[in-house]
Amino acid sequence: VTHKPSWTAGFLYRLSILLLVFTAGFGLFVVAGAILGFGAGGNDVAVHTTVDADRVDELPPGTVGPDTFDVVVRVRDASAEQLRWFAIRDLPPGIVVIVVLWLIRGLLKSVRDGDPFVARNVTRLRILAGVVLIGIPLANLLTSIFAGELAASADLVGPPLQLALPGNALLGGLAILVLSEVFAEGLRLRADLEGTV
């Protein structure tokens, strides 16, 4: 390294660690809640469900809306099973966020150390693209499945399964994939440069 790392790189690296610790802590709290079912008999849970449009009163005349509406029902004194599903429902997105933050932390560390064009970062970016392209839709699907189980445990109809690739995830994943190829090319150029006398 021939230069001092930028202040921004150092700041972002520390911020990524802070977010990672915060998210991991929250994830542990969720897992503990799922395993122990803590607070049973005294806690409320928010259950996502749908109701038919004809059951919704006082819509303005001429309203053109969907056949069903997504609503949240608050279940008071939830059972241990309901608390467990409630906790598990938020796990998949949490895991995705932790993996993404971990990869970003590694990338930022290499930038801070002044050596980002390494093979490891190409791998990190490819994994990051995979998480965004596959992990996010998968997490959404699992969350909708768990939300359905939670709703069923409260004798309610759960939200529909989410089997779609969000547009922003598709664009973001492709952009990261392109960036990983740029890094791979940078790595090849660096190897050539280092082998030039």
């Binding site: 190897a191 050539d192 082998g195 030039t196 006398v197």
Partner: protein, 76 residues
């Protein structure tokens, strides 16, 4: 016989140095090329050579690029 690189190009630096009775350090001083770079070249670890490096070596060793580098077809 020099060290052959991964591209089947052989650098005959050792023979030319011997013929001129010169050491690597002396060549480094005269050609203004670091000993590290000369070692990379001598041991066949170089991936490319700049015209400026080639010209400096030819000037000091009083040779042509063809005397310094040879290519062998390893496919045969």
């Amino acid at each position: 016989v020099g060290f052959e690189s991964e591209y089947s190009v052989t650098v005959h630096l050792d023979e030319l140095l011997e013929a001129k009775r010169m050491t690597l350090a002396q060549l480094s001083d005269l050609a203004d090329i670091t000993v590290v770079n000369l070692s990379i070249l001598k041991n066949g670890r170089a991936k490319a050579i700049r015209f400026s490096t080639l010209a400096a070596l030819c000037r000091v060793l009083d040779c042509q690029p063809g005397d310094l580098l040879t290519w062998t077809d390893t496919k045969e």
